[in-house]
Symmetry: C2
Subunit: 177 residues, 2 copies
DNA sequence: CAAGTTGTGGATTATTTGTTTCAGAAGTGC
DNA sequence: GCACTTCTGAAACAAATAATCCACAACTTG
């Protein structure tokens, strides 16, 4: 997961993967099948681990709090020096070679999944009266996800934690609802 | 430019490039040198053409108007069916293979350039009293650029023009200044 | 038309990629 | 201690890559 996170799908060479895992090339193939299968496992691990907060955040008592937690944890993740820079779902999507189309689709689906989860949370907030019904819940979700992915690219560019924090502060101060 | 835009740096094979340009492989090498040199020419063309509006927008009479024009033209560009999806500077940057480091740096520099231009515009707006001095001009520029790159990823994901438009509408309605 | 420049196609090189194979070492369970 | 599974290391493979070379055609220019 960490290697794919750092180098993207095509950027990660089998040598990088085996040496990072501390196992032999032969073993890797008998255990995981091939590179693509391994990558899908890595995405799953990424979703269950480092970015689980995206799916957890919707359990906050208010939609506003959800967004606050979401963006704050994104800053923490992106600025943690123990992690590769940026976001696996963006870093990996570059897989542009026509053959890697399925990789790209898996990552887009991954992001759409997060978007849908957020949309549901906003719809609930509208039922509860926290958010005006003038908005479409899906639009709000897409807006927040745009901020989130933009933040990911900024992190990959080498933005400092303070800079990421300021971006989030500005975004939160001017939340549309 | 169009091929790199669509497939990224490593995703673009020499065959794609020669057939898109309608010239021979030999000719390409004698004219441009190698793939990397060609890519730098493509970036320049991208900056002078499709995304020139980023550097033009700062000439709008107000900072608010600058941001409005910037984001609006981004939507137009990303939704134009004649263009590849997404943004060359993002699509290409994920070229992560260690050898392509110089490519990544060139694209980061490209984006930082846009950020600096925007920062200058915001600083001027502060001098003129349009924007409160409570902000740092650089922070605002980074915030807008975060939105812009996020928009680029949304476009690459296949968002429709209406969806992109709505994101921008929300962002503009809740501009921090 | 003739001389010289420029582009062409095809073959070729060296390198790198993901993947497979296989004999043998290391470990495990009875 | 012996059968059996699991892992290892190294070699090898086919495919694809960027890049080079060269003889020949096409064109431009005087």
């Amino acid at each position: 997961m960490r290697v794919f996170w750092e180098k993207g799908y095509e950027g990660a060479r089998m040598n990088d993967l085996t040496s990072a895992m501390g196992i032999n090339r032969s073993s890797l193939y008998t255990i995981f099948g091939d590179k693509e299968a391994l990558f899908h496992r890595a995405i799953q691990r990424y979703k269950d681990g480092p970015v689980a907060f995206v799916w957890d955040s919707v359990r906050e008592p208010t939609a506003r709090r959800t967004v606050e937690v979401l963006l704050q944890k994104a800053v923490d993740l992106l600025a943690d020096p123990r992690n590769p820079r940026g976001c696996l779902s963006i870093q990996g999507a570059l897989a542009a070679g026509t053959e890697a189309e399925s990789i790209k689709e898996a990552l887009i689906a991954f992001r759409k999944n997060g978007e849908a989860t957020l949309k549901k949370r906003f719809a609930q907030a509208q039922k509860e009266g926290e958010i005006s019904r003038d908005f479409h819940a899906g639009d709000l979700a897409r807006y927040i996800l745009t901020l989130l992915t933009g933040l990911g690219v900024q992190g990959a560019n080498g933005a400092t934690k303070a800079q990421l924090q300021t971006i989030v502060d500005i975004a939160l101060r001017s939340l549309p609802f």
